[in-house]
Structure formats: structure tokens, C-alpha cells
């Protein structure tokens, strides 16, 4: 029983960073139509920024804020400089993002080499409750993720901006005629999604060492979460992240351990076959201006 409960606790923390990256992808892909496969590299840059700040004497909180802001700025520059030019041809944006993966990885390697980077655990300690080990830093990561998810959810579903954003997804032309600055919203969503990746990177390096190659591993999971949950659906991304986290935990615990990832992706295939728009339904993507 202890082991089973431990696996459930593990699943929550496994899910947290995936949910953050998945929400970023689901917003950008689902609401703007930009397929950014370099989103994992944004996470990596966030982790590296945190590492740079912490290894130069800054605290973790400063590193986390710096990561969020820097990756947000990076998102702004890349959206304005590259992706904006491909909105009419999403496939070009997709190919550009593949190129960006290599460019961003090699930029980091050029200046800070390709070795693992880690920071001292910002919060050490393990709580033991009924034989279950709860790692304090992981609990904090789960908490931060929950807060960010709540803010994002209410921002999209309840705020005036969220309403305008959803209107522009439904019909960009009509939304424009109604005075919604669609292009600016696209930039805003891209920046927000990028900031979530920066946050994910900062939280990730608080848990594990990272390398310049971590992004490609994470981004596949992020896209799985976005698709399983339903494109553009924040609640869907949370449910999908939890489902994948649970799948990881339980399959590692009770299935063939080397098949852990295979179970998760088999589940993704099954869900997409049965529910092509994801578990909670999503957008079919925005219509081009």
C-alpha cells in the first residue's frame, strides 16, 4: 500500500512540469496555430538562465523570475522576428522551429558547454507521512503549477481578454472587424506560453540536472499533453498531464519498467483514435487572417 501511495505522489510531481509545458504548447498551438517544436528548448533556456543566476550568487527565486522574463522576451523576439512571418503557412513555422532547436542548443553549448548543469536544491528535506516520502521541493513545484494553472484557466475562460482571444480563435476576421487586435493577441499568447516554458525550466533544474538536450525529451510529452487534453484547452492539458503522470507512475511500478514511455504514448494513440479532439475537446486551430 505504501508503495502504491508513493507512486501516486510521484505521479503528481511527474505531471507538474509536463503540465506547464503542455499548457504552453496547447495555448500557442491551439490558439495561434503556431507549431513550435522548439518549445522544449525554451524550457531548457529557462533552466540555463536559472543556473546562470544561481551559480553567479543570485538566489533561486531571482533565477526563476529571470528565467520567466528572459524566455518571455525570447518568445517575443522570435514571434515577431520569425513566426509572425509564417502565420499564413504554418508548415513553414514548424520547419523553422525544428531549425531553432539546433540553433538554440548550439548557442548554449557554444558558451556554456554541453555538460549537465545543476543548482543546489532550493528547499531540501523530505516529509515522511505514513511511510510515504514527500520531497519538499516537489511539493512546492506541484503547488506553483496549481497556482499557474488556476491563473491561466481563469484568464482564458473568465477575463475580457480571454473572451476576445477565444473569439479570435473562432473567427479571426470577424474578431478583427469587432476591434480585437488579433495579431497582438497572438504575440501575447506566444509570450505567455514561452514564459510558462521558462518557469518549467526553472522548476525543472530545481529538481534535476539539465543538459542542452533536455528540450527534445520534454517537448514530445508536452505535445502529447496538448493533443490528449484538446488543443487550446487548459483544463484538458491538466487532465492529460495527470493521466500521463499517473500512467508513468503506475506503469513503472507495476508494468514492464523499460516500457514506461511506450505505455504513455500507446495511451495517447488510443485516446486520439477514440476522441480525435482530445479528452475535453479543443479548438480545431485558428482560421488564418
Amino acid at each position: 500500500m505504501e508503495i502504491f501511495l508513493q507512486q501516486l505522489v510521484n505521479s503528481l510531481s511527474v505531471a507538474s512540469v509536463i503540465i506547464l509545458i503542455g499548457i504552453g504548447i496547447t495555448l500557442i498551438f491551439g490558439l495561434t496555430g503556431i507549431i513550435n517544436f522548439a518549445h522544449g528548448e525554451f524550457l531548457m533556456i529557462g533552466g540555463m538562465t536559472t543556473w546562470l543566476v544561481v551559480s553567479n550568487g543570485g538566489g533561486f527565486i531571482i533565477g526563476l523570475v529571470a528565467a520567466v522574463l528572459f524566455v518571455g522576451l525570447l518568445g517575443f523576439v522570435l514571434e515577431r522576428g520569425l513566426f509572425r512571418l509564417t502565420l499564413d503557412r504554418p508548415m513553414n513555422g514548424f520547419i523553422i522551429s525544428l531549425g531553432l532547436i539546433v540553433v538554440l542548443q548550439h548557442f548554449v553549448i557554444r558558451f556554456w558547454n554541453s555538460y549537465q548543469k545543476s543548482i543546489p536544491e532550493p528547499l531540501s528535506g523530505v516529509w515522511e507521512i505514513g511511510g510515504v516520502q514527500i520531497i519538499v521541493m516537489r511539493a512546492v513545484v506541484v503547488l506553483i503549477t496549481a497556482v499557474v494553472v488556476a491563473i491561466t484557466f481563469f484568464g482564458i475562460s473568465r477575463s475580457r481578454y480571454g473572451l476576445a482571444l477565444r473569439a479570435s480563435v473562432a473567427d479571426q476576421e470577424t474578431a478583427s472587424l469587432m476591434g480585437v487586435p488579433v495579431r497582438r493577441y497572438i504575440t501575447g499568447v506566444f509570450i505567455y506560453g514561452s514564459m510558462l516554458a521558462g518557469l518549467g525550466g526553472a522548476l525543472m533544474i530545481a529538481l534535476f540536472p539539465i543538459t542542452p538536450f533536455i528540450g527534445s525529451t520534454i517537448v514530445v510529452r508536452g505535445f502529447a499533453v496538448a493533443l490528449i487534453g484538446g488543443l487550446g484547452n487548459v483544463a484538458g492539458a491538466v487532465v492529460a498531464g495527470l493521466v500521463l503522470g499517473l500512467m508513468d507512475g503506475l506503469s513503472a511500478g507495476y508494468g514492464l519498467p523499460e516500457w514506461t514511455e511506450a505505455y504513455s504514448f500507446a495511451l495517447m494513440i488510443l485516446i486520439l483514435l477514440l476522441r480525435p479532439n482530445g479528452l475535453l475537446g479543443g479548438t480545431a486551430g485558428p482560421r488564418a487572417v
Binding site: I3, Q6, Q7, N10, S11, S13, V14, I109, N113, S114, Y115, Q116, V126, Q133, I135, M204, L207, F208, P209, I210, T211, P212, F213, I214, T217, D248, G249, L250, S251, A252, G253, Y254, P257, E258, W259, T260, E261
Partner: protein, 410 residues
Amino acid sequence: MKFWQFCAIAGSALFAASAQPAAADDDTIKIGVVAAQTGAFVSAGNTIGAGVTLAVKEINDAGGVKIGGKSRKIQLENRDDRTDVNVAIAAGRELVNDIGVAALYGTESHDFSVSMTKITGPAKVLQFTGNSSLGAILTKESVAPGAPLHYTFQSEPPEFQRSGSTARGVLKLLGKEIGAPLKNAVVFVADDATGQYLSEHYVKALEANGQHVDLIKYPPNTTDFTPLLTRAKGLNPDTVHFWYNGDVTLVAFPQAVQLKVAKGYFLFGVDPGVWADRKLVSTAPVTLSCVPMCWGAPPTPEAKAYFDRYFAAGAVKGVQSSVSLLYYDYMHWYAKAIEESGSTDPDTVVAQIEKMKYQGVVSKAPLYFDNRHRVSFATEVCLVKPNTSDQFECAVEEPPTEPPAGDNGG
């Protein structure tokens, strides 16, 4: 001749010259390294280039390789395989076919090295590679003159020997520290070609030392090991043995300590030097092993002097820096074989290496290749005193002469 005709002929000549493989320069001996400078195996791969580079510098600074009263400098060509077998093969082809190297060092990945022999063998290029999985294909017949692997040398001991000496040393040190008999072990290893090969032998070695062993293979690229470590905890192990990528091990190990998976741990491929350098600390007893001698706790003054020179030359302090020693020694050995045979002819050099005993830094006893082109030497194992970053108790374990029951001796 008209001007345009002259230009066309001159241009064609220049193009033809540039398209030719680099002509052998009598004043240099070209040597290649193919190893990961980036990617998952950078910590192991980087040491190959750095170790060979240091040896080449020392040889060249001493005047070069002396053949018949004439000295020839060594020209080193380093290539990054990016931990990608296709890149490794492309780099190998370039070095062998285009650059015309006489010997090749690397790679760090077992399956890559085996693939590389298909390039070096037909071109009569000597290949020195540490990967013990070569043992599966190196036989008396395959290394005989004229056979496909005549120019291939395995620079690490057969895997049953390394696993045997490692398992014995680890259990001895952990048993003493924990103060209770060790019976149950979990081997935690990456589910890739190298991990599968290595764990096959290490499990047998632990069983030969009285352990009940459970094997848990994790998917490559795993970063969150808690689900699999929780599974391991459910098996009630006395010890968990992490094989084989040191970088990955240093991600998984702290998670194991936080979850209190076992009483003691073994981390393969993590030098005591990196433990001290990163100021790592563990509440649980931990053992580390090095192939062949540990950076951070070298058992001989020669090894200590080597690591001082190695890092002074600018090498990165990676988790597996000790691996560099192998390639440093084998570069010097190769140069000495050329000097003693008085020739760079590959068949002559191979014949010379086969009959040599070489005293380098790797081993207290002189090294020699057996009739399957394999070497044998001891493994150093160190215990990290709990709650310390720089207190180590080390022992040098000699390899077993025979494989344990069920081990095919690869």
C-alpha cells in the same frame, strides 16, 4: 594558350587537387579520435579526445615519434560523434578515407565502436577502443593476420573481469560500512545496447558474490526516476547499483536517497574527484568505481601526476575523467610500438604491439594484449564516507581469471 583556357585548366587542376584525399605527409603521422563532445555520452567521450590530446602533446613536445633517426610529429584530428551512431560512422569514414589516419581512438559507445571496425579493418587502420562489448566479436580467428579485426584492440578488460572485480570491491566496502550481510541487490541500468550488455555480466558477477539480484531497466532520456526507484524500493534491496552513464546516475542517485530505497548504493562511472569537486554529500553509504584508476583518489603517484597534468592542460572535470587514462596510455603505447618496430606499416605495428608489454599509468603491472587483442587490469573501487564530500576509502580489486557460472566470458 588563351587566358580563359589557362583559367579553365588551372581551375580544373585546383579542383582535382582539392578533391583528392590528403596526401600522406612524411613528416607527420595522422591520428584520429571519434568521440562524443556533445550529447548524452559527452562525459565519457570528452575524456577520449582529452587523453589522446595530452599524450600527443607530450610526444610532440619531446620531438615526435623517432623512426630510423628521423622524428615525425603526430597530427591529431578530433571529431565529435554527437552521441549519434550515424555521425560517428560519417566521422570515421572521413578520418579513414579522406584524411588518411593511421590509427583511430574511440568511440565511447559500445555499438558505435563495433560499427567503426567495419571502416578501420578494411583500411588497415589501427583502432583502440575501450568498449568491452568488442569482446563478443574479438576471437583468436577474427584478430589473426588477414582477418577483419586484426587491427582492432579492446583497451578495457573483458566485461566479466571488470564486473567481477567491481562487484567484489563494492560488496566488500559496503558490507563493512553497513555492518550487516548484504543479500538483495537491484541493478538499475539504461535500457540501451550498452546497458543491456553490461548489466548481463554485472548481474552474474553479483550473483557469484551471493546476491539475489533484480534488474530494472530504465528508458534512455529518463530524468524523473522516482516511479522506477519506488518500484525498486518495493523489492527491499540492501543495495542499488546504478550502471552505467555517470551523468544519468548523478540524476537518479539523489532521488534514490530521498526515497530511502536501499541501505547502500554503488554508482558506476562517477569519479571520486567529481564527488569532491561538486561537494556532493550522502547520508547513506555510497561506493564509486573507476576504470582503471580514480580521479580524486588515485592509488599511485604516477596516476596522481597524470590527473594533475590532465586538468592543467584544460580538460573538463567530468564525471568519468578517469577513462582518459586509458586513451592516454594507448596513444603512448602506439607511438612506442612505432619506434620499436621502426615502421608505420600497420601490419608491422600490430605485430609489435602483440608482442609488447607496456608499462604506462593505467596499471601497476605492465599491460599486454592477449591473443584476442584484449587487456586485463585491476579496478579501483572507493567508498564515500557518509556525510562527507572528500573522505574516501579505496581498494584496488584484481579481476577474476574465469567468468562466473552462466557468464559467456564476453
